[in-house]
Symmetry: C2
Subunit: 143 residues, 2 copies
DNA sequence: CTCTTGTAGATGCAACTGCATCTATATCGA
DNA sequence: TCGATATAGATGCAGTTGCATCTACAAGAG
């Protein structure tokens, strides 16, 4: 077995660490503001983007990189909290269409400044615009 | 509230995505090889590094960025699997010293090629050495 | 010494996740 | 049309996590 280069290992470990630290910062900020966790934001955003037509859970799970059962349960919880609405789909008796409720839209809007604040503090103040772009480019090559 | 730059958002979303995709790839490879999950590897590695003297759980949790209860339970499971050994520490009746067992060492060694193989395939084949170094540098600035 | 405060680690409980499987509907080939 | 296969989504169960709290020992103040 070939050994990875030191640079490879450094890239990976710093990736994991940065992810953990930032995620934790965001979660903490949201919690302190009495708002839902970050995965709800991502879901609310995707649903909002599609809101003219609504979106199907199977599409959503692909965009959010969630397993099928994870998506199903996340939607359960969000529906129970009154943030989304599940309705039957015309033309496919198996499926459903997800839409935001007004409360869902409001919750997303309330979460955004908290989320954005952390991104500004943790990313924007530490990387120049060019560096951020370069970071995105390099990370993009990984997937 | 000031809006983050597009570059900031792109950096963050690509960070989250890259992390998820790579992590999933590694977990899948380990699972297919019948080996424990990645967090066990990280713990085994840290314990191994300290093995001359052993290491205390409270030190370990800081290096691994785990909450105290998470560390406690991870050690429970690893001890139950026979990979680590918890012994009393002389001079501090509250604490314990963690060491690898032979099986723990062997497990770490068995995991390494699988882990390394994914890193080579997913990182090293997609980024040059310079790019990987640059990626690590940029990520390092975030934390 | 004894009381208060601090630190190491464990644990009950509720929520969440992964895995496997299940139900229901859709689609495709003979 | 019918049977086989594929797709959408839900769910039982066991294992894991987060939160709050608890126990035990340590350290410093009076």
């Amino acid at each position: 077995m070939k050994k990875p280069e030191n640079e490879t290992i450094a890239a990976w470990t710093s990736l994991v660490t940065a992810n953990r630290v930032l995620l934790e910062t965001i979660e903490k900020a949201l919690k302190e503001a009495g708002l839902p966790q970050i995965d709800w934001y991502d879901a609310l955003l995707e649903i909002d983007k599609a809101d003219a037509t609504g979106i199907r859970p199977f599409e959503l799970k692909e965009r959010l990189l969630l397993p099928q059962y994870g998506m199903s349960r996340l939607l359960d919880r969000m529906a129970k909290a009154g943030l989304v609405d599940r309705r039957e789909v015309e033309g496919d008796g198996r499926g459903q269409i997800i839409r935001l409720t007004n409360k869902g839209r409001a919750t997303r809007l309330a979460m955004w400044p908290v989320y954005a604040g952390v991104l500004i503090g943790s990313v924007e103040q530490r990387l120049s615009k060019d560096e951020a772009a370069e970071l995105a480019r390099l990370l993009g090559k990984l997937t």
